[in-house]
């Protein structure tokens, strides 16, 4: 079963973090995804650039609106997504609590409803 581990955290520009701490975290993330991959549960891991690089697109209001900036301006920003294939929620939670991002951010763990394989939507079990 697929789960998305959605990471939200304050961005580097908003908090005081040393370069050393950032590098240590990068090493930790490197080891984390290796552990996920070794266990055969990693589908993908994407860490996003800062929210000030975001652009929103919507037609919800009837016309095209393209705007600079993120969808929601919150203290914690969407920072990345890991998609895992594990047997159940408990296994997903076990991995989420080992994520380096959990030490400074919050992980939202959600089951994937439907995903794509080769251009077709495939419902998750």
């Amino acid at each position: 079963m697929r789960y998305a581990l959605v990471l939200n955290n304050p961005e580097l520009g908003d908090v005081d973090v040393s370069q050393e701490a950032v590098e240590a975290m990068q090493v930790a993330f490197g080891e984390y995804v290796k552990a996920l991959d070794d266990a055969g549960v990693l589908i993908t891991g994407e860490i996003l650039q800062a929210s000030d690089t975001a652009t929103t697109v919507t037609l919800r209001g009837g016309s095209l609106e393209v705007q600079d900036g993120p969808f929601a301006d919150t203290k914690d920003k969407l920072a990345g997504v890991f998609v895992l294939d594990v047997p159940d929620l408990d296994a997903a939670l076990a991995w989420a609590e080992k994520c380096p991002g959990a030490t400074y951010g919050v992980l939202e763990v959600r089951p994937v409803g439907i995903h794509t394989i080769g251009g077709t939507w495939v419902p998750d079990a």
């Binding site: 975290m25 266990a39 030490t103």
Partner: protein, 429 residues
């Protein structure tokens, strides 16, 4: 003064820096505890002591090592604290170098001050009070162990942050907040009296145990068992030295020695996990075992059983193999039963089920496991690993495989995961 210095620079005499390192290693906690107890301000005491060390580094090579280095450092640090409280501006603005030639901070460097310094034996030992402050009920439990490691063992925040798998600024912030709380709330640097001791001692024991119980760095995805093992032993030894009449203090020290003795044997040459009952006793540390068993014996003479003594006794029962004796499964089961009666944690109950299996057979163990009936069992990896082993022993292969799969899915530690995968494939063949 300079001519003097040349004599001290001679090869046979230790250099000022070497001597300072030796003093700091042995007496840092003692000095810090005394200074902090006088003001309840650990941060100020640390700063003052760091300043005294700095002065020693700069001064001792030239002026010679004082006859009483501990007293010298204490006097310099105390004067520094006095200056600090005399002038609030002094606190933030004056760089170290500017003070070198200025009174009054330089005064203690003079020979008279050195002669006035208290002898090492006269320096009161406030380390026990400091340990009780670190584990005071008003201090957040998660920061108690880090506080002890920093104040009593002098570990820097960076090392502690690595061990606790949090970013360094996070750990530094927690430590600073805890020290501010100690000062602001007026937590006394006092050893609890006989009446208060039963309530105040357990958190101190927990905090010392906490340094040992950091199993692995959760964020790293790699296992790092016992990263603070030496530090936890040092804390437990200190506590046993300062409170030799408390059986649980001795029990904790025994437990840490007996566990540390086997740390090197938990992984084989290939880096694969080796379960306790398959470990080669030759690879256990005989000296640590001997010391642990001696401590346990001393604890048992008080005739008051406690959690740490029981856990030490369980470890000690396993160590029978180090003496060429088979482990007694019935004795082990009995110890686990008493432990569960005292502390019915999920881990303890699952461990009891495993010992029931060893003593009375896999069916009895499985029945005990089923009887636990705790909602936490579904997510509890050791419960599934134990169930898988027992089902496998009973030849119920399909159920065993399902339990192994569940246990494996809950295991993020690659070494344990690989171990369970080997076990699973063994049960298939």
């Amino acid at each position: 003064m300079d001519e003097h210095a040349e004599r001290h620079d001679a090869e046979e005499a230790p250099s000022g820096a070497d001597r300072l390192v030796a003093v700091v290693e042995r007496d840092h906690a003692r000095l810090l505890a005394v200074l902090a107890a006088e003001t309840r301000d650990i941060t100020a005491a640390e700063d003052a002591l760091a300043d005294a060390y700095e002065r020693a580094v700069r001064g001792w090579p030239a002026s010679g090592i004082p006859s009483n280095p501990q007293g010298w450092l204490l006097t310099v640090a105390r004067n520094r604290l006095k200056d600090r409280y005399r002038s609030a501006a002094f606190r933030t603005s004056v760089p170290l170098n500017d003070e070198t030639d200025a009174a009054p901070a330089t005064a203690p460097v003079a020979a008279t001050a050195i002669d006035d310094a208290p002898e090492p034996d006269e320096i009161p030992d406030k380390r026990l009070a400091l340990l009780f402050v670190c584990a005071h009920p008003a201090i957040d439990p998660s920061v108690r162990t880090p506080l002890m490691l920093q104040t009593v063992l002098g570990l820097d925040a960076r090392r502690i942050a690595v061990a606790f798998a949090v970013p360094e600024p996070t750990m530094t912030g927690r430590l600073v907040r805890a020290k501010r709380k100690i000062r602001a709330a007026g937590i006394p640097f006092a050893v609890p009296d006989r009446r208060a001791m039963p309530a105040r001692l357990p958190p101190v024991l927990e905090a010392v145990y906490g340094a040992y119980a950091i199993e692995w760095r959760p964020i790293a995805g790699v296992i790092e068992r016992g990263s603070l093992s030496a530090e936890s032993l040092a804390l437990a030894d200190l506590l046993a030295e300062l409170l030799p009449q408390e059986p649980e203090v001795l029990g904790l020290d025994a437990l840490l020695h007996l566990s540390a003795a086997r740390q090197g044997a938990a992984l084989d040459a290939l880096g694969q996990f080796v379960p306790l009952d398959e470990q080669d006793p030759e690879r256990w540390d005989a000296a640590l075992i001997a010391r642990g068993e001696d401590l346990l014996l001393r604890a048992s003479r008080f005739g008051v059983v406690g959690r740490f003594q029981l856990e030490a006794a369980i470890q000690s029962a396993h160590d029978a193999r180090a003496h060429g004796i088979d482990v007694d499964p019935v004795a082990l089961r009995r110890l686990h039963e008493v432990l569960v009666g005292m502390r019915p944690t999920l881990g303890a109950r699952v461990a009891l089920a495993a010992t029931i299996a060893d003593a009375d057979g896999a069916s009895a163990g499985l029945a005990a496991l089923d009887a636990i009936g705790d909602v936490g069992m579904e997510r509890f990896q050791p419960a599934w690993a134990t169930r898988a082993h027992l089902l496998s022993a009973l030849g119920r292969r399909d159920e065993a495989d399902a339990s192994y799969d569940r246990a494996i899915s809950l295991t993020t530690d690659p070494v344990l995961r690989a171990h369970l995968e080997r076990r699973r494939s063994r049960s298939e063949s």
